[in-house]
């Protein structure tokens, strides 16, 4: 449904609409409505005529849907127009031909003809109503021609029904009419229409057919014609105002006056809304429909709540601004406060007919109706009071019969407790009755009544009073043990007793209702607060979504789902509570997509795909939604409860903000990583240019000397040069190896081929490989006999150990000892490599594993790549192990500790 700002028929909104349309050549399409006072005036024919004219002028015109009703002249008009095939819908064994909305959107003509604006689509269609389809077509930038009879206009529905005695179910909200860029009245004098009808040229819808004689008499047709003319004239008036406003014509603009319609759960509410709409239309002022939730609302039954919701929903449909107010007890005061704040000049309130029952009379005496209070307080307002019709009263009285009140058992409970309380009061009063005045005994009964009233509300108060009255009369008034009354004072005492017990009981019950309402409001606030807190504490987007689904389900008492688009833009379920749905039906999926794409709620309780069981709300802060949250209430009626909608919006808001916050944090982290990787890239370039070139300088130098002047060198010099080249080539080789390892680690495609391996074998192999590097050092190996096999890739762990030993040999002075020790502890092999070098300063012990970090810098630094230990960490961690640097055994030198997983013990016997 289209909502603000163009739903209110106020002059300034027309201006807005005019402004909105100007700069959008590819924007929304234009809507033209052919309006008629009754069927048969020739709307479709006129529409087709216009279509043909447009087509001749070169526009791409498509007949999306036109009903010919078998009339040859209409069919003839269709002949040379492009007709879109209908969508076949199978409904209860009947094949219905509906407009193919998707095909139309895909075809994207300049102008589409869509007959019967008020039509109700077959169940399961995307929108329940055709006018909603039309709105989507307009949004897609396609111009639309359509037809409409006045009895289908929501606010005229009552009036037309009164005139014709036929009420149509298919209505179009007035707000939609204000979207129309042009309305053309197709007028036909009643005489001509009656003649056409007699000639059989008029197709009559079924419901009209039944009341044919009623419908087509001259008087009624004249009345309808008048309404149609008035509607169009009003519209022309509005157009003129818009023109004046758009062209800055100074006019008699009314001040920002507003009309306020106050509704409650009374059946008259819907009539009030319709009446309000018409008044506002006539006065050309914005209108608001407000309802006040008081503690009493909490204790209302479902039927009453639904009546209030229906009225509010109707108000939205008719284009009113709606407001839900809250008040503890003074509903009238709250309404007046709100009305003054919004510059309301006229109030519309309803009043029930005088209640018939004695009890109701008594209650209404005690509880002044809100309308009366309003009349007293609204001295500065014009107040319109609308009295409920007898029919409305009927429905009110009938409703408990169709839906039996759920309170029979509660009533029984109240009666039982009343009896017990009165019995106790009687027993308590018994010893005193002979020497206390009878009036004092009444007070004891009053206490009992109050207790019951507090526990059971008004019902308890009335029951308690009744039973108390009987008991008091029976036991304590003369003649005793009889319901008869003799003394005049006793009668007075009884009356005083009944009145005071009812009054206190009612007060008690109201107090109780207030407390309960406060309690439930507090509980709601607490759950929301709790929800906000839980969401705020989640730091990863996944956690937020999980928390949103789980706590959202709790707060809303519903199943929840969160969908976000994947890379291709398809919505995917990412979280759900209690779980992700195995099968989401097409209606729900469609609603989710709609909510995501159009950034407005869709599904249950909305105007889009309402037969989906799920209600989807877009998750967005500002800008495009980044997903949708879906709820499926356990009680499907709750989807339309305004209270629940507010709660859902609050939940959606919290989730969106939390996700947005995390997203920002992620972005920050990404930016930081990017900065770090830039730094790393610079270091790598530096390393490559330096470490790769240095050995090459020696190799090229030595080899060129040997090649060019070999003969002139002594044998010793030649050998020295050759050995230099060899050493440097080996250094280069190990550097390239490091680069390769680093690249593989960086790409994450390093997958250890793990198998049980003997640490000693690995060490043996590494020592052999590093024989040249280690030739100036003593190697001391102490491996505990009980160290089982490692669960590791022998080659990769060999590489890690080689880097550690290479590092040790680089820093430890020649002739010193490098010790390798290993033991098994807690399922891990702990391998330490200690050297007698300068050690690693405490602050550097973590940083030595950083890429391109070197313990000592400058020219004095032993040649290294700055990658060795980073590779060690990468290789060890790829095995699920860890590595750390520390001080040597007596605080001297460096010690690296590797922790690696052990293989599970195998059978020791080979067959």
């Amino acid at each position: 449904m289209a909502t603000p700002p163009d739903t209110r028929p106020a002059p300034e909104s027309f201006l807005e609409a005019a402004r909105a349309e100007e700069p959008a050549p590819g924007g929304k399409g234009k809507l033209k409505i052919f309006l008629g006072a009754s069927p048969g005036v020739g709307k479709t024919f006129s529409m087709l005529e216009e279509a043909r004219t447009q087509k001749r002028s070169g526009l791409d015109v498509v007949v999306a849907l036109v009903e010919t009703h078998g009339r040859a002249e209409t069919a003839g008009m269709l002949a040379d127009l492009d007709i879109l095939p209908r969508r076949r819908v199978d409904y209860k064994g009947q094949v219905l031909g509906e407009m193919d909305l998707d095909a139309l959107l895909a075809r994207k003509p300049d102008l589409a003809l869509i007959d019967e604006f008020a039509h109700t689509n077959a169940p399961g269609s995307r929108h329940p109503k055709r006018w909603q389809d039309v709105m989507e077509v307009l949004d897609a930038g396609i111009d639309v021609l359509t037809t409409l009879n006045i009895q289908h206009i929501e606010s005229l529905n009552d009036t037309v029904a009164q005139i014709t005695g036929v009420r149509v179910q298919e209505t179009v909200p007035d707000a939609v009419l204000t979207r129309a860029d042009a309305i053309e009245l197709i007028d036909l004098p009643p005489e001509d229409l009656i003649r056409r009808m007699k000639e059989g040229k008029v197709y009559l819808p079924q419901q009209v057919g039944r009341a044919l004689e009623n419908f087509f008499n001259k008087g009624k047709l004249t009345a309808l014609r008048e309404i149609a003319l008035r509607t169009t004239a009003g519209r022309v008036d509005a157009d003129m105002l818009a023109f004046m406003s758009a062209n800055a014509v100074q006019g008699p603009w009314p001040a920002e006056e507003r009309l306020l319609v106050c509704v409650n759960e009374a059946p008259v509410a819907k009539s009030l809304v319709r009446a309000g709409k018409q008044m506002a239309e006539r006065m050309k002022i914005p209108w608001i429909v407000a309802t006040v939730l008081t503690p009493r609302h909490e204790s209302l039954n479902a039927t009453a709540r639904a009546a209030r919701q229906d009225a509010m929903h109707l108000a939205e449909t008719l284009g009113a601004e709606t407001a839900t107010l809250r008040a503890e007890s003074d509903a009238a005061g709250e309404i007046l406060r709100y009305a003054r704040a919004r510059n309301v000049t006229r109030l519309v309130v309803g009043r029930a007919r005088w209640p018939r029952g004695l009890v109701q009379k008594a209650i209404s005496l005690l509880r002044e109706p809100v309308s009366e209070k309003l009349l007293d307080g609204a001295t500065d307002f014009e107040v319109v009071v609308i009295t409920a019709s007898a029919k409305d009263q009927e429905t009110r009285r009938a409703s408990p019969l169709t839906a039996p009140p759920p309170g029979w058992s509660r009533l029984g409970g109240a009666a039982l407790e009343s009896c017990i309380a009165i019995a106790l009061a009687t027993a308590f009063a018994w010893p005193f009755w002979s020497w206390l005045p009878v009036a004092s005994i009444a007070v004891i009964y009053l206490v009992a009544v109050q207790v019951v009233a507090f526990r059971h509300g008004l019902t308890g108060a009335l029951l308690g009073s009744l039973i108390g009255f009987l008991a008091y009369n029976f036991f304590y008034t003369e003649p005793y043990y009889s319901f008869a009354v003799e003394q005049y004072e006793a009668v007075l005492g009884l009356v005083v007793f009944v009145v005071s017990s009812v009054v206190t009981g009612v007060l008690e019950s109201r107090l109780k209702a207030q407390i309960e309402s406060m309690r439930s409001a507090q509980a709601r606030t607490e759950t929301l607060f709790d929800f906000a807190r839980k969401i705020a504490s989640a730091t990863k987007s996944d956690d937020v979504l999980w928390a949103a689904a789980a706590h959202g389900a709790k707060v809303l008492d519903a199943r929840t789902l969160i969908l976000t688009p994947d890379r291709s833009g398809t919505l995917e379920q990412v979280q759900g509570h209690p779980s992700i749905e195995d099968h989401l039906d097409p209606a729900a999926l469609g609603a989710a997509r709609w909510a995501y794409e159009k950034a407005e709620p869709a599904g249950a309780g909305t105007g889009t795909l309402p037969n989906s069981e799920w209600l989807f709300v877009p998750l967005a802060t500002a800008g495009r939604p980044f997903g949708v949250i879906g709820v499926r209430f356990h009680d499907s009626k709750r989807a339309t409860d305004p209270e629940m909608k507010r709660l859902l919006m609050a939940v959606e808001d919290q989730v969106a903000v939390a996700i947005e916050r995390n997203r920002l944090a992620d972005d920050l982290a990404t930016a930081r990583i990017a900065a770090e990787s830039d730094k790393l890239r610079a270091a790598l370039l530096n390393s490559v240019s330096h470490d790769l070139r240095t050995p090459l300088v020696s190799i090229v130098g030595a080899a060129s000397t040997l090649a060019e002047r070999g003969e002139r060198l002594s044998a010793g010099d030649r050998e020295a040069l050759a050995l230099t080249a060899l050493d440097e080539a080996r250094r280069l080789d190990s550097y390239v190896q490091n680069l390769l390892d680093m690249t593989r680690l960086g790409h994450g495609d390093l997958k250890p081929k793990r198998a049980p391996v003997d640490l000693k074998e690995i060490i043996g192999r590494v020592r052999a490989d590093l024989a040249r590097v280690l030739r100036h050092h003593e190697i001391d190996i102490r491996i505990a006999r009980d160290v089982p096999m490692l669960d590791a890739d022998p080659v990769l762990i060999g590489q890690a150990l080689a880097n550690v030993l290479d590092n040790a040999a680089k820093y430890a002075p020649e002739g010193s000892t490098i010790s390798i020790a290993a033991q098994a502890r807690e399922g891990q092999a702990i391998i330490t490599v200690s050297d007698g070098g300068p050690g690693i300063p405490e602050g550097d012990r973590e940083r030595v594993f950083d890429l391109f970090h070197r313990a000592t810098r400058g020219d004095g630094a032993p040649g290294g790549t700055g990658m060795g230990l980073a590779i060690v960490r990468g290789l060890v961690e790829a095995h699920g192990g860890s590595v750390e640097a520390g001080a040597g055994p007596d605080g001297r030198g460096a010690r690296l500790t590797l922790r690696l997983p052990l293989a599970p013990p195998a059978a020791e016997e080979a067959p």
């Binding site: 003997d758 000693k760 074998e761 192999r765």
Partner: protein
Amino acid sequence: MNETTPRILVIEDEAPIRRFLKIVLASAGYEMLEAERGRIGVEQAATSAPDAVLLDLGLPDMDGKAVIAAIRDWSQVPILVLSVRDAESEKIAALDAGADDYVTKPFATGELLARLRVLLRKRAAGQGEPAEIEAGALRINLAARTLAVEGRDVKLTRKQFEVLALLMRHAGRLVSHRQILTTVWGPAHVEDTHYLRIAVGHLRDKLGDDAADPRFILTEPGVGYRLKA
């Protein structure tokens, strides 16, 4: 060694490597035949009957393993593979295809010549297995199934003896896990490397060998074992 100069076929696409190998091989008293493509190499191996083949696995025209398979179709000439480091699976695949040993690039010439010598010796030894094999401080008698380490008798289980005998028959040469498992435990047990690991562990204990500083049995991680020549 024979009086005739052994002829080595080098299948390698990099000209600088071929050039340097020619000098190295000539200095060691071998004659070198060259092929810069796999297909030519296979032809050469057939037409000029070399005493050994030196094969680079990374050839532009043919997969190294396919070259090995093509040669193995009709010839048992020893094949020494040149392979880059860290390509354990490639090495194993080459050995499975029928290569005899490998040298990791970049290699020192000493290592290359030693491997080549072992392969040529095996070929020279040819058929007719001796009753006794000696390798360093180890001496086994295949008929009596006895082992002496530095003249001292050591008792071995049957499997341990068979593993050691296999390694000694190929002393200095790589023997892959698969080769040992197939020969000693049978083809059904090629995947049961833990049998082998445990047997070698016990064998080392009995020989008084230390895996971390081996005197006899060298480990080629993930590939196989080699008895120190």
